[in-house]
């Protein structure tokens, strides 16, 4: 080990540049990895929210996102039609209004109005340890996601103002790390009023954006979703599985882009390791010849050079990861005021890049090390 460090120290400048090249890559990988981890957390929270419900939207040719932006609405009478479908326990209208658009990677704050159904919880994935869930007959009440509650400095029993309207906080949900943390849930009619005030062109009454359907216990939710789609005209159902797939597709693309950027950075770093190792092998050909002359086996020489490359990777990985963590801590602190966490630090985010850098550097060092190990001692000793 000492020998490895001494050999690296021999060419301080070059070692520094090589290490620095990987540090940049690992830094990017750590920071972007933190971002991906946070995104996955939110997605998992989202999956938790949709796991037990069927979402019903107006039928359109386009995607769900497009139809929402087009502002197409459903008639509330569809709720009765849907509730008549066997296997449906209850159906509830849902109106969503944006409170605050998303900033950067942060979640948008949403006001969601729904019709509470007695005996059915809207939130299978979130505990409400402070206060209670909305109940049928509630008006002017709000149930807040944890992040939003902190943001508004809200307390159960006290009033908060949302979109210029005062609500009494009846409950605050525990943190789920998912999207509902920045949502406010209010009774359907309250949300509809706000929605209509913001969209004066919409001809009022008897409309909803979405309908949330809960199945009866023991009913296959996927089959039910397909069945509702078939029997109720003019609607488009999304089962939990379909919704999950949509979300997963988006997250896969995001992860691929983010990690792709980091990998390009590391590829460059890897090339510089190859270059450095080739240089140090050709500089030390005589040394290699000598070592083989005094009895070092091919494997021994290979091991020595691989170890040197691995140490470069390990050092660079550790430094890059620490810098990445510092950056994450700094950025999270900077956005702390607006109560938004952009990054999540997980074990994978910390350990992954270091292991990755070590393996990357070892692989990059493999070819030069093989070249070193295979040198014929007689030829190597002749080198000037």
């Amino acid at each position: 080990m000492t020998f490895i460090l001494r050999n690296m120290w021999r060419r301080k400048g070059r070692t520094f540049l090589t290490v620095f090249g990987i540090v940049v890559g690992i830094f990017a990988l750590t920071v972007l990895g933190g971002m991906t981890a946070r995104m996955n957390q939110q997605i998992n929270g989202m999956k938790g929210f949709i796991a037990d419900k069927i979402t019903v939207a107006p039928e359109t040719a386009g995607s769900q996102i497009r139809q929402m932006s087009q502002g197409k609405l459903l008639e509330l009478s569809k709720i009765d039609e849907i509730e008549k479908v066997p296997g449906v326990k209850s159906a509830s209208g849902m109106i969503t209004v944006q409170l605050k658009p998303s900033e950067g990677m942060s979640q948008p704050q949403m006001l969601v109005g729904y019709q509470p159904v007695a005996g059915t919880s809207m939130f299978n994935n979130a505990k409400i340890s402070k206060g209670r869930e909305l109940q049928p007959g509630d008006a002017g009440k709000v149930l807040l996601g944890s992040t939003l509650a902190t943001d508004l400095k809200a307390k159960v029993g006290q009033p908060v103002t949302l979109k210029g309207k005062q609500f009494e906080v009846v409950g605050i949900m525990d943190t789920t790390l998912g999207i509902t943390d920045t949502w406010a849930f209010v009774p359907f009619q309250d949300a509809l009023d706000i929605f209509l005030a913001e969209n004066p062109y919409v001809k009022a009454e008897g409309l909803t954006q979405q309908i949330t359907v809960f199945p009866k216990p023991g009913v296959n939710i996927e089959t039910l979703s397909g069945h509702i789609q078939k029997v109720v005209p003019g609607i488009k159902t999304t089962s939990p599985k379909q919704a999950e797939k949509m979300i997963s597709d988006i997250s896969t693309i995001f992860s691929a882009i983010i990690l792709g950027i980091a990998f390009i950075a590391l590829f460059v770093g890897g090339l510089s390791v190859i270059n450095t190792m080739i240089m140090s092998v050709s500089e030390r050909r005589r040394e290699i010849g000598l070592k083989k002359a005094i009895g070092a086996r091919t494997w021994t020489v290979l091991g020595e050079y691989l170890a040197e490359a691995a140490v470069i990777g390990l050092m660079a990985g550790a430094v890059g990861m620490l810098l990445g963590l510092l950056a994450i801590a700094g950025l999270n602190r900077a956005t702390h005021a607006s109560n938004v966490a952009i990054f999540t630090v997980t074990v994978t985010v910390v350990v992954g890049p270091v292991i990755f850098a070590t393996i990357l550097a070892s692989l990059a060092g493999l070819f030069p090390a093989l070249r070193a190990a295979r040198l014929n001692p007689v030829d190597a000793l002749k080198e000037e």
Partner: protein
């Protein structure tokens, strides 16, 4: 007992269209405790012969037997084992590793022999004592004179207690004074420790200090003489 012997030893190189017989059907035997010099003009094949004797190179045909072991059909890993256990090398350019101090350089072959750390240091210091450099153990090569560096290289060759020490122009980069001192040291090691040496040189003064002078020309032995100076005393 013969430490190293060759039979019909041949090494052929191809350089472009030409085929060069660097060593050409050479028979040679060196006994335990012998002090041999190998002389010859440049290109006579003496260095190639040394490499073949030390298992650094493999013959095109013929055999080399070291310490009773025939090396002709051995793999490169096995040849490395033989070099590690039975042969010590001394080169013209010393070939010390610049990042290691004298003692660490001497320890290097013992590392490859997987000798335990504490024993390694002990044996390295003992070898340095043999060459009179105990007080320079902690110095890096750059802090040593040429003569001192070559003595460290000799200590490195001796530290594994090899059957045979091969030296390729060991005094090539030394002035006369240091050459004499180095040969004094080698003579002493040969006489007092019964260490077998084979030295390639074209310095007649160096050859004159040895007990047996083998002259090579065109890859064959031209003459093999045992002059009267059997005690290895200074001329």
């Amino acid at each position: 007992m013969s430490i190293v012997s060759t039979c019909e030893l041949t090494k052929t190189y191809r350089v472009g269209e030409m085929t060069i017989n660097a060593v050409n059907g050479l028979d040679l035997e060196i006994e335990k405790g012998e002090f041999v010099s190998i002389m010859g003009p440049s290109g006579s094949g003496k260095t190639t012969l040394l490499h073949l004797l030390g298992c650094l190179d493999v013959p095109t045909s013929g055999t080399v037997t070291i310490d009773g072991m025939e090396t002709g059909r051995l793999s490169s890993a096995d040849l490395a084992d033989i070099r590690r256990e039975k042969v010590g090398f001394i080169f013209q350019e010393y070939n010390l590793l610049p990042i290691l101090n004298a003692a660490e350089n001497v320890e290097l072959p013992l590392r490859y022999l997987k000798v335990h750390k504490s024993e390694r240091r002990e044996r390295a210091l003992a070898a340095l004592e043999k060459v009179g450099l105990t007080d320079r153990a902690a110095n890096r090569p750059s802090q040593l004179s040429g003569g001192e560096q070559q003595r460290v290289a000799i200590a490195r060759a001796l530290v594994t207690e090899p059957a045979l020490v091969l030296a390729d122009e060991p005094t090539g980069e030394l002035d006369t004074e240091n050459t004499v001192r180095l040969m004094d040291l080698v003579s002493h090691l040969n006489r007092d420790f019964d260490q077998t040496f084979a030295i390639v040189t074209h310095d007649p003064m160096v050859a004159g200090r040895t007990h047996r002078i083998i002259s090579i020309r065109d890859g064959r032995i031209e003459s093999d003489e045992t002059p009267g100076n059997q005690q290895g005393l200074p001329l």
